[in-house]
């Protein structure tokens, strides 16, 4: 150890935490008298449940504190309630939540528009920094965007033309 330390004299603090017994922080299992007794601790006071809080079915009730923003609502909320019928061990639990997140995103856009605010996607996606630091990537994205829109327009127009042909057949 001494010899090694001189090899590493260029590193400030080399080996200072090498001896776990020297370091009260070493993560050994620290047994306490409360081990193996279940949920016996003196619980902190309970935060009042003023909004709907979903809790994992792997615990008897909510924890003493929790976050209250964004309680479940709408269709995504229904799906979240459904998800919490399944344990954390079930794919159904997590995949339902992920699906709920995507639905929630659409609900978010709808709510924005309802409030008279059309989301500024360009800014939200960080478009300004993309333009500033990645002009080539930015240009590629814009060109792809134009190309895709162009194609879509052509396709839709093509279909319209078909439709009008059909119409004239009637």
């Amino acid at each position: 150890m001494k010899k090694l330390a001189s090899d590493f004299s260029h590193i400030n603090g080399w080996g200072v935490d090498a001896d776990p017994l020297d370091v009260p922080n070493y993560p050994m299992k620290h047994r306490t008298e409360n081990d193996n007794k279940g949920m016996v601790w003196e619980r902190p006071p309970q935060q009042p449940e003023l909004v709907e809080i979903l809790h994992s079915n792997e615990r008897p009730s909510v924890s003493a504190v929790f976050g209250t923003p964004n309680p479940p609502s709408g269709l995504s909320g229904q799906l979240r309630r459904f998800a919490f019928k399944y344990s954390e061990s079930e794919w159904t639990h997590w995949l339902s939540l992920l699906l709920a997140d995507r639905i929630n995103m659409i609900e978010g856009i709808r709510d924005d528009i309802k409030r008279g605010h059309f989301p500024d996607f360009f800014t939200e996606l960080g478009g300004h920094s993309e333009w500033k630091y990645n002009k080539i990537g930015f240009a590629k994205k814009v060109l792809t965007g134009i190309a895709v829109t162009g194609l879509l327009v052509l396709l839709i127009k093509g279909r319209d033309d078909d439709d009008s042909e059909n119409d004239s057949d009637d």
Partner: protein
């Protein structure tokens, strides 16, 4: 800030002021907050139950503005480091120093403790990428910033430094050991730096972003290699360790690893597994028989493809956790004060909170050689 869906976050001036909701709460006025690699998992839409309207941010410091009736250890006006874990200090896990595994801070999941601004799967708390934040259990986690400490150092003690340090600690490094760190992000950089404190004999960092490799080589005085030019990083590590493998491998990448098409497609595109486990796969296969794999990279709750058979056959020990910030703070403050760790050296960007959308994009897309961005709210810029 306000999350609107994958890759979309925005400034929100209409968020209500947080309130005291429990006698142990404090309200903290944020003076600095960072964006973390963990936030990218939320930002990319990979964490289930990330609700629209959530404010992210688990790495913040600030000034105590208001305290609940039961709070005794803090007073209004204190400058505090707020650990990213919400921990009660009373449950059997907190009692054992496992502050990252508290059982009284997250109703929505038992497998993870409460974390500020980290989705409802981690308790549904709003986070610190904001001007004000509600901090539950204010007597337990928050730690007054020592008068002589730079606040840029302090903000990194909320997560990145303890996480990197605990990654090395869990590696059980013995003097002279070869330690391989996967990932040269802020966490990997701190893990490499900390490995020396435990007496590592050789520290090797693997990533594919040249600018980060260049940085970590100097900052952590270690070796650094690009896995794109190595082709097979496992084979490289075997060869460079005299065909034995590394004593300790650290996964500081987590569920958005690059480098393996199958993992990327099944994990990050199709979501058939909880993200891509490329780095963990390499870690397991690069470690020596009987060696230790230490995981701090974050993975989702479902499951991942990893070579578990090799874990058995090689007799590998796996240690992993969310960092127990509160447990480590006293020692880490000593290290910073003694100059053994220089956290603020990794900050590359200071961005006004109002430009949060761009800050996320810059960090996520790794633009402008970004390593660690810090958001500064208007009140802290005066």
């Amino acid at each position: 800030m306000n999350f609107r869906g994958p890759f979309r976050v925005r400034l929100d001036r209409d968020k209500p002021m947080p309130q005291i909701e429990h006698s142990g709460d404090a309200i903290v006025r944020v003076t600095r907050s960072c964006i973390c690699g963990s936030d990218l998992h939320l930002y990319h839409g990979l964490v289930p139950d990330t609700r629209i309207g959530t404010t992210f941010g688990h790495e913040f410091i600030g000034v105590v503005e208001e305290i609940g009736d039961a709070v005794q250890n803090l007073k209004v006006g204190d400058n505090v480091i707020v650990p990213f874990n919400v921990a009660c200090g009373k449950c059997v896990f907190c009692e054992q120093g496992l502050f990252g595994n508290c059982h009284e801070s997250n109703p929505q999941a038992t497998a993870v403790g409460g974390i500020f601004g980290y989705s409802h799967t981690a308790g549904g708390f709003d986070g610190g990428q904001a001007e004000y934040v509600r901090v539950p259990y204010a007597d337990v986690g928050p730690t007054v910033i020592p008068a002589d400490m730079d606040h840029d150092d302090a903000v990194l003690l909320t997560d990145v430094v303890p996480t990197g340090y605990q990654a090395a600690e869990m590696g059980g490094i013995k003097p002279g050991d070869t330690v391989v760190v996967f990932g040269a992000g802020p966490v990997g950089i701190m893990a490499a730096k900390s490995a020396w404190l435990f007496g590592a004999g050789r520290v090797i960092v693997i990533d594919h972003l040249e600018y980060r490799l260049e940085f970590v080589k100097n900052y952590a005085q270690c070796e650094a290699y690009n896995f794109r030019s190595l082709e097979d990083p496992v084979l490289f590590i075997k060869k460079t360790t005299d065909w034995m493998g590394a004593d300790v491998c650290i996964d500081a990448v987590g569920c958005e690893a690059a480098g393996d098409a199958l993992q990327t497609i099944t994990g990050r595109k199709l979501l058939l597994q909880a993200g891509s486990a490329t780095a963990l796969h390499w870690a397991i296969n690069s470690v020596k028989k009987g060696g230790i794999v230490s995981i701090v990279g974050v993975y989702g709750p479902t499951g991942n493809l990893i070579p578990i058979g090799n874990v058995v056959n090689k007799g590998i020990t796996i240690r992993a956790n969310q960092a127990s910030v509160k447990r480590l703070l006293p020692r880490l403050i000593e290290h910073v004060q003694a100059g053994r760790l220089n956290p603020k050296g990794i900050i590359t960007h200071r961005i006004p909170l109002e430009e949060v959308s761009d800050a996320y994009h810059i960090f996520s897309a790794k633009l402008d050689n970004c390593i660690k961005p810090v958001l500064i709210p208007p009140s802290a810029r005066k």
